[in-house]
Structure formats: C-alpha cells, structure tokens
C-alpha cells in the first residue's frame, strides 16, 4: 500500500493509490491531499490504475475530499478504475458525484 503524489507541468496534482484504499489508510491519503490543498494546489487527479480494492471508508474519504476541494474552488477527478471498482462506484451512485475518466491522461486533458 502506497500513495504517491506528483505535479504535472500545469500544476495538477496526480495521486497514485497502490494496493488498497481502506479504513486503515484513508487518513494518510486524506492528509496528503489536504496538505497539497493547503499549499495552494487546486486541481487533483486520483489514479486508481494500481488499486486492488476500495472499501466504504475509502469511498467516504473521497466524498469528503471532493467537498473540501470544491469549497476551495478546486476540482477532483478520478481515473483508472478497473471494472470492479467502476461497478462499486455505480452501485453506490458515487459515479454521479465524481468526474471519472478512463485514464489519468484523459483526466488531465479534461481540466
């Protein structure tokens, strides 16, 4: 399990989630993104292409982060969901709450 943050040349923060996003590590992801928000970043992509599974706490932290980023005038996009994760977002109807792109590159292009 690992979170990676990097900025592309236009200033978008790309967050990679390797392994899983669950109740035991969600606060670490939240803090990393809140720190970047505090430092002035406003556009974020979370790339799940290396993510095995996400539990409801992981989904909840994404909802919370999305709200905080929007409150600061920013935008959060999700990318790289495999078929199972896409289904998870659809059955919880969170696909209606998030901008979801097929790949991180497509998410970056959509800003």
């Amino acid at each position: 399990m690992r979170f990676t943050l990097k900025k592309d040349k236009s200033g978008v923060v790309i967050v990679g989630v390797e392994g899983q996003l669950i109740v035991g590590n969600r606060q670490e992801l939240k803090q990393k993104i809140l720190d970047a928000l505090e430092e002035g970043s406003r556009k974020f992509v979370i790339d799940f292409s290396k993510t095995g599974y996400i539990d409801s706490s992981g989904l909840g932290v994404l909802v919370s982060l999305s709200k905080k980023i929007r409150e600061q005038g920013g935008e959060l996009r999700l990318a790289g969901l495999n078929a199972d994760l896409q289904t998870l977002f659809e059955l919880t109807k969170l696909d209606t709450l998030f901008a979801i792109s097929r790949t991180a590159e497509e998410a970056l292009a959509a800003f």
């Binding site: 399990m1 392994g19 899983q20 669950i22 109740v23 035991g24 590590n25 095995g52 599974y53 996400i54 539990d55 409801s56 706490s57 989904l59 909840g60 932290v61 909802v63 919370s64 709200k67 199972d84 994760l85 998870l88 059955l91 919880t92 109807k93 969170l94 209606t96 709450l97």
Partner: protein, 131 residues
C-alpha cells in the same frame, strides 16, 4: 482458519491479506478473492473495530473462515453490544449521497452471495460462492 484481530483499524489490511492468501486454490475465482472477498471482509472488520469495539486495542475481533470446494464462509464477531441492521439508511438516497459514512453494509450486501447476522447484531456471516 481462525484468527483474532486486534481492534486497530491499521490491522485491517493485514488481516484481509492473511485470509485471502490462505484460501485453497480454486475455492473462488482469483477475481472474486481479489475484489469481492477482500472488500467485504475489510468492511466487516472495519465496522467491528470502529463500532463494535470502539477501536480499543485491548479488545479483539474473532474471524473464522470455513470453505468447501465451491464456497467460502467468513464469520466476523466482536464483543460489543451489536446494532440493529435493519435501521441503516439507504446510502444511495440523494440526501445521503454526500455523507462520508454509512455505505459499509450496503457494499457488503452487493459483494457477497449471502449475508447473515447473529441475533445480538455483533456478528456477521459472509458467504461467497464460486462462479
């Protein structure tokens, strides 16, 4: 397979991996193990630790796993007072969509083939079948 998991949210991922990697090959498809089983077990453990035992590391959660050639059944039991599983709001209702919490049971019910609770409401049984 039986294990006692300390009431520590940081232990959920390791406990899930321990169960998932010790199932006999062929019991469930790799995809169902890697997603459905791992996600549902993480949910059940997270609920038991957070709500059942109050994240008190002196307490623990009992996990028991039974399996046959085409099914896996996982019991997750805490020593808490239990809760009424019928009183959980629908997390997909528009009023609840932006809430951070409240999706756990909903997710479990969609990922496994059968969900059962004990009478007290402090134990859940997850059954996943092959196919």
């Amino acid at each position: 397979m039986k294990l006692d998991v300390p009431s520590d949210l940081g232990m959920v991922g390791d406990a899930v991996e321990l169960v998932a990697t010790h199932l006999p090959p062929g019991t469930l498809s790799p995809r169902r193990i890697s997603f459905n089983l791992r996600t549902a077990l993480a949910e059940a453990l997270g609920n038991a630790i957070r709500y059942g035992t109050g994240e008190n590391p002196a307490r623990s959660i009992r996990v028991s796993v039974e399996f046959g050639h085409d099914f896996v059944r996982i019991y997750v039991i805490d020593d808490g007072g239990g809760f009424d599983t019928t009183q959980v709001p629908d997390p997909t209702h528009p009023d609840n969509l932006e809430r951070e919490y409240g999706r756990g049971l909903f997710v479990i019910r969609h990922l496994v083939d059968e969900v059962a609770f004990n009478e007290k409401g402090n134990g859940i049984c997850l059954t996943l079948r092959a196919g």
